[in-house]
């Protein structure tokens, strides 16, 4: 999907005030996948706010990322239902396998890992979401297999 670009998003919010800050950051993140330093600086100029204020707001909320997303963005639900059904083990396995902490992206930009407080799909617990697609009743070995599959696909693509 082509990027709209930061400037276009800002143009859609002419003479915006403070209450537009979060919506603007959300739109930029949706477009770019994360909030880069340049994006934060530009938003600051547009809203006449210091970058420190914007970082203050953006780091307060869990949703904003400051590293680009990987090609496969893995979100692990850490809701209570998922927890009692073993999502902690799923997360540990993913962190070990990908050598990532939540919020980080692998160097090859293939995988990024994130946790979320609750996706509200508790009937399917434990739940993992990869690039918007839900994987229900996940176990460490199921997720390990999925990760391996993505890796294999990538290496065949690279060869082919």
């Amino acid at each position: 999907m082509a990027e709209t670009g930061i400037e276009t998003i800002l143009q859609e919010h002419p003479s915006a005030g403070r209450d537009s800050l979060i919506p603007i950051l959300q739109e930029i993140q949706e477009d770019q996948g994360y909030l880069s330093t340049e994006a934060v600086t530009r938003v600051g100029e547009h809203l006449n706010l210091p970058a420190s204020k914007i970082y203050g707001v953006a780091t307060f909320y869990n949703q904003f990322r400051f590293q680009p997303k990987g090609k496969y963005h893995i979100t692990i639900c850490r809701g209570t239902a998922c927890h009692v059904k073993g999502s902690g083990n799923v997360l540990d396995m993913a962190m070990k396998r990908l050598k990532l902490e939540p919020g980080q992206t692998t160097r090859d930009r293939l995988f990024s890992l994130e946790t979320v407080a609750c996706m509200g799909a508790c009937g399917l617990a434990p739940v993992v979401n990869i690039n918007g697609e839900f994987y229900a009743k996940i176990t460490p070995q199921k997720l390990a297999r999925i990760i391996e599959q993505f890796r294999e696909e990538e290496s065949t693509n690279a060869e082919g």
């Binding site: 403070r18 979060i22 203050g56 904003f64 059904k85 070990k96 609750c118 509200g120 508790c122 739940v127």
Partner: protein, 616 residues
């Protein structure tokens, strides 16, 4: 779309839609909320559409896509109307057969759900034990309406409560009705909604007033609000319109979690449709009453469910709560009077106006009227959303509706109220579910999460889980919350690692009281609940961790290890399941686990059919 210029215009349209409806034509109803879609509902919808076209059944068989019906366990499912036949876990091939059977008026007995106890097949949805004990005032509507078709909502009586209220030409009547209904806030605190509205209505005229729908459903393990937003967004809009008329408010805000993309999409569509029909905006239905609604997406902060934090978030600031008074009813968004109600509260408003207060108050108990939706999840056979009258016992919800434990392990407790709530042990399951009884038992009603825990759930681990969540979500404004939750987490972490001492329990209790008494907002004041309630009812489990360095449930990793006993037949199932390759052994030879490689994830135990994996 038609622009409605008067109340009579509305009635004419609604009558026309109602008479035009032929409810005898068999209809295939497919629930496709987020959970439904995740289970494959989109694929069976595609097959159903294709089959109807291919077999030339257009006009003979209708298809309706709806939001969630609540029984997550059987999704993707299909409901046939008017017969009310329900087919669970429908695959693509089955879907094609169902279309054909519906056209012929047949029932496919081989696809029906079996009663787990009697083995008997059950055809009608309402005969399933999961549904038969519920009182589905709100969730029923999720079955009836296609959330993206406003005419569908109108056909089933939608917006007629608004018209009824407008026709009275007396805003005070609305408030009287809501007060008399006894409706209490469904967000968890249980403040009487009518009283809140009366206070807002009394704010001096000439000051702009705001209404907010709090759809920042932050409690992990609760998703009833998502289901209502996705499945029946117009009912929220109608509720807010009625509230606006009663209180004289001009602006509405729906503050919704960004984690709910489908709910946001349906809300946007519904708002556009309502404006197009002149049910929203300036001079609604020609009555001179005006109200607009704007969507604000949350950015993922649990504390923003707190009303003052929510207001700051709407204003584009960090979601830190502030001292009350002044309450939002006096000083809310931009300093203007603001009333905030939860999604489920708003959804109840059209019901109250339609049936009138007295009829509404007949459901439930004296100080707790109406129904409440719970999300029944965790170690339970029937997971899903259940709507029950207030005052029902936990036992009825867990065993009659929920069907008891999902596995062999016995049910030990239910956790209600999310991170602000507590755990209620199995010997207290005769407790009536209402605001007051749950608070007395050391938990809270909360927004309605009900997480079932069995003998394989460690209560120390549960307390640690919640404290970890709360220390991350504490906004940091009050020192005692910021550091208190952190310290409590560290102590619980020590106990779960076998480093706890009996004095730790005293310290936990002392800290809990300090955090409760010295913090400003609901997050801090209720943060100790998970610790206090587990200490109250499951102290022996804590002591087992401290004195014997044992985790009876086999959860706390530092205290357990996995081994394979003589039951092993060498089937290799665990060898394949182990993500770390820690298990070795030839086929038909007993296997062994390499303790150094083992990450204690439990994968081997869950696949073993011979009970050969021990946790000690």
């Amino acid at each position: 779309m038609l622009k409605l210029k008067s109340l009579d215009d509305f009635r004419t349209l609604q009558d026309r839609l109602r008479t035009g409806r032929d409810s005898d034509i068999p209809t295939i109803v497919i629930p496709a909320g987020t959970c439904g879609q995740a289970s494959g509902a989109s694929d069976i919808i595609r097959v159903a559409k294709r089959e109807i076209l291919a077999k030339e059944l257009t006009g003979k068989v209708k298809l309706r896509i709806t939001g969630c019906h609540g029984f997550c366990q059987i999704e993707p499912s299909v409901l046939i109307e008017p017969a009310r036949t329900v087919y669970p876990n429908v695959g693509l091939k089955e879907m094609a057969r169902i279309v054909e059977a519906v056209a012929k008026g047949e029932v496919l007995t081989d696809l029906l759900l079996k009663d787990p106890q009697t083995g008997e097949q059950i055809e009608k949805q309402d005969d399933l034990p999961f549904f038969s004990k519920q009182v589905r005032t709100l969730l029923d509507r999720n079955e009836k309406v296609d959330p993206i078709r406003v005419y569908n909502y109108l056909e089933h009586g939608g917006y007629s409560s608004l018209v009824k209220a407008l026709d009275k030409r007396n805003p005070a009547w609305v408030i009287e009705q809501v007060k008399a209904s006894g409706l209490r806030g469904r967000g968890g605190a249980g403040f009487p909604t009518g009283l809140k509205w009366e206070m807002l209505a009394k704010q001096p005229n000439g000051r702009e007033k705001f209404l907010v729908c709090n759809a920042d459903e932050g409690d992990p393990g609760a998703y009833m609000d998502r289901s209502v937003l996705e499945g029946n967004p117009h009912s929220i809009i109608e509720g807010m319109l009625i509230g606006a008329y009663g209180t004289g408010s001009k602006h509405g805000v729906i503050y919704v979690r960004n984690e709910y993309p489908l709910a946001i999409k349906h809300l946007i569509i519904a708002l556009r449709q309502a404006s197009e029909l002149s049910l929203l905006g300036e001079n609604i239905l020609g009555t001179g009453f005006s109200f607009d609604i704007q969507i604000v997406r949350g950015a993922g902060a649990f504390v923003c469910g707190e009303e003052t934090a929510l207001i700051r978030s709407i204003e584009g600031k960090m979601g830190e709560p502030r001292q009350r008074p002044p309450f939002p009813i006096q000083k809310g968004i931009d300093g203007k009077p603001t009333a905030i109600n939860n999604v489920e509260t708003w959804a109840n408003i059209p019901v109250i106006i339609d049936s009138e207060a007295e009829a509404f108050a007949k459901t439930g108990t004296k100080n707790n009227s109406g129904t409440k939706i719970f999300s029944l999840v965790g170690k339970i056979r029937n997971t899903g959303l259940v709507e029950v009258p207030m005052g029902i016992t936990i036992e009825e919800i867990v065993y009659d509706i929920g069907g008891g434990p999902s596995g062999k392990a016995k049910i030990k407790a239910v956790q209600t109220g999310g991170p602000s709530g507590g755990c209620i042990p199995a010997d207290k399951f005769d407790l009536a579910v209402d605001y007051d009884s749950l608070t007395e038992a050391g938990s809270i009603m909360g927004s309605g999460g009900m997480i079932v825990m069995d003998e394989n759930t460690c209560m120390v681990d549960v307390a640690k889980y919640f404290m970890n969540f709360l220390k991350d979500e504490s906004c940091g404004k009050c020192f005692t919350c910021r550091k208190g939750t952190q310290r409590m987490y560290e102590i619980l972490d020590d106990i779960s690692a076998g480093k706890g001492t009996p004095e730790h329990l005293d310290l936990l209790e002392e800290l809990a009281v300090v955090v409760r008494d010295t913090t400003m907002c609901g997050l801090g004041q209720t943060a100790p609940n998970p610790v206090l309630s587990t200490l109250r009812y499951f102290r022996d489990e804590y002591l087992e961790h401290i004195e014997n360095k044992r985790c009876p449930a086999g959860v706390c990793r530092e205290l357990i290890h996995y081994s394979i006993n003589e039951n092993c037949v060498g089937c290799q199932a665990c060898v394949k399941a182990c993500p770390e390759g820690a298990i070795t052994g030839e086929k038909k030879q007993p296997h062994t686990i390499d303790a150094d490689k083992c990450i204690k994830c439990g994968a081997c135990r869950s696949v073993c059919k011979f009970e050969a994996v021990d946790v000690t």
